[in-house]
Symmetry: C2
Subunit: 415 residues, 2 copies
């Protein structure tokens, strides 16, 4: 163990997940075990913004029981941010400010929990501090329901969102069949460029209660083909069809379908909000004359902690605690990765470090060979990949029949 | 016990719930215990339609384990229907057909599971059969997430939907606060004329993680007041506000707000589908200039069996089994009701019979005195009423991390 002594700063960034706080719990609980090296544990309010604004919480003042409950508490408990650092070569203002704050509070450990942009942030800060001779161990902790980070088999947050998508589609499958009249259900799932989460609806297909059609952003989306696909299902299925689309479906010119259809207005002349499922619903309704119900999973799919995957919660926690352990060993400029090492057909996953640059600013999409030839389904390879990630239940204890989420005091660190 | 011997017919009607199949399980499991009186147990495909079409399943051929799993399986396993019988005085065609089918299969027990219209159906068939001298014991089993049936303290189906609404709002509350930028979230909940389900969001308020504003159909809805209410919350709350509206909000002239705002079109000139939350979102966005996210709970709120209330599942089952027991005692033209008899501040509920006419074609709305004066919240009386109904978890066993719902063989009865 390397003898670096100082405070620890942890921040959460980007869209939250059901288990991002489980990683926070992993970092905090592990960090508080090492007062001989980690003198203070801080949580930045709204990620990098909290560091720039010198606004962070003193985690040592929190009740350990509440930190434990963080495992089951959705959303980013510290607050999140979408903030992309400029290149240091173009503008060093932010970097200088970060260095200043880190020096003032003697921050020697920095962990940032997020997606591609957050790994980019880790990478940039790490390089800048090193080039200025300031010693600080920096580790990225992966998180995203999109599951699009390179360098890791999968991302904490994905398993729980995938469990939400697949479970909910099984329930919807039963509900949508209930009347003996026609109904096309179009479900919209998050994921701008990678279709991992939309693909999770194939797990419901695997259990016999899935959608009929699945459209990922990886395959060019053609509206006429889509209508034809829906019609073909309706024709053989008593005018019933469930289609799942990614919010990020793009036409062959790589334009988001949701974008070029969104200049719609209502009675008051206001632009219509809402996803691409609504526009597609209108088209199907007009062309096929069948009742259509568009359903946008919206924020529900990323905050449904009541349906979290135990595997995901445990891995998210482990990713956080491993980051601390690695940093205490002197590791820096790395990302914690989940490495799959299945044995005898049984899921096994361990934690490893990869260069943070590996994950920064790149996107891992669903392999083309896992998408069926007609572009509306997933192969067995995908099922084998995704099914282990949604195993087990892990949720907050109930109080009055409702989840008892963590209640942090959030005591601001004295400036 | 009265000595009426013959077959039993059970049908499901109207919009499904998470626990309507629990009542089916109650009817089936109890009925199959009494072969000395109940010679056959049938389940009508798509309710009354299945009787008219002579299409029903022989439940005696189902695996008892699958009938047990029905308790945790959402949606109407037999298929549902929306079909309102004409008055017999106007047209006896359907009634004659029902009598014909009942005679052919010697059906002496008939149970219909649904809302107001279904109780009306029970009432009409009961009177017609009696006036034609055909002995048949008919009992209505209540069901609706709307909770708007008269004669019963609450309806099976409501507790689970209320648990979904309140739990999900707690999760959304955490998610919607995650960035330090403004966001108005407008959530739309089912319930055309009664606001019970929308009111359930007040349970999240009770736990400190609820919406800021709640609008029921019981209070006339004024768009300008709504925008003003949202602005007032945003002003004191860093431009953040969560509002929950019922799909059935009406203006002072009793016109559905969703209806007079829905003549919106998209780029292709198609009418926009989707709920009133989208139109309100546009207005708020334009008037306040704050980002708005409309979220429609859609079908999810009525089929989320993974989040069912144990209390609700047990009461739904009991309502079904009690219907059989009462019918075997010779009772007819009645509805099973849940009667609240709290003792020492502890929730107690028992099953009783009420005249089915009491529930037919009337709607129970949220008492005015339970709605706060400004029309945007619920009183403690509502919390005391609703909180016991969402207690406990009861869900399907997991198989591969996903719910193992009932798989019925659905063997059609021989004609």
């Amino acid at each position: 163990m390397k003898d670096l002594k100082g405070a620890l700063m942890f921040g959460q960034s980007g869209g939250p997940t059901s288990v991002i706080n489980a990683s926070a719990a992993g970092v905090f609980i592990e960090a508080l075990k090492h007062p001989e090296f980690i003198t203070k544990v801080y949580g930045a309010a709204h990620g990098i913004k909290g560091i720039l604004d010198e606004k962070f919480y003193d985690i040592g003042q929190e009740d350990p029981k509440e930190l434990e409950l963080l495992k089951y508490t959705p959303s980013s408990a510290l607050g999140s941010v979408r903030y992309k650092l400029k290149k240091a070569a173009d503008d060093v203002t932010d970097y200088n400010r970060i260095l200043e704050v880190f020096k003032k509070y003697n921050i020697r450990y920095f962990f940032y929990n997020g997606g591609n942009d957050s790994m980019d942030t880790c990478n940039k800060i790490s390089k800048y501090l090193a080039s200025n001779g300031y010693e600080c161990n920096i580790i990225g902790v992966p998180k995203t329901i999109d599951n699009d980070l390179c360098g890791t088999d999968h991302c904490p947050g994905y398993g729980s969102a995938a469990k939400y998508v697949s479970t909910t589609l099984m329930e919807l499958n039963l509900d949508a069949k209930v009347y003996n009249t026609g109904l096309v259900t179009i479900v919209e799932v998050m994921g701008r460029n990678a279709g991992w989460l939309t693909a999770a609806s194939a797990l419901a297909v695997h259990k016999g209660l899935g959608p009929d059609l699945i459209y990922l952003p990886e395959t060019p989306f053609d509206i006429d083909k889509f209508v034809g696909d829906v019609k073909a299902v309706c024709d053989k299925n008593n005018n019933k069809c469930i289609a799942v689309i990614s919010e990020g479906i793009k036409n062959k010119d790589k334009k988001y379908v949701g974008e070029f259809m969104s200049s719609s207005t209502d009675l008051f002349g206001h632009a219509q909000l809402g996803g691409v499922c609504f526009s597609l619903a209108n088209i199907v309704k007009e062309k096929l004359g069948i009742k259509v119900r568009p359903i946008e999973f919206s924020l529900l799919q990323r905050c449904a902690a009541h349906l979290a995957s135990k595997t995901d919660v445990e891995e998210a926690f482990k990713a956080g605690s491993a980051a601390v352990k690695y940093a205490l060993q002197g590791k820096t400029d790395k990302m914690v990765a989940l490495i799959r090492e299945d044995k005898d057909g049984k899921y096994k996953c361990k934690v490893k470090l990869v260069p943070v640059s590996k994950a920064a600013n790149s996107e891992k999409t669903v392999p083309k060979e896992w998408i069926t030839n007609d572009g509306t389904g997933l192969s067995k390879e995908f099922i084998d990949y995704a099914l282990p990630l949604i195993q087990g239940d892990a949720k907050a204890p109930l109080e009055d029949g409702l989840p008892r989420f963590a209640r942090l005091k959030k005591v601001l660190a004295k400036q």
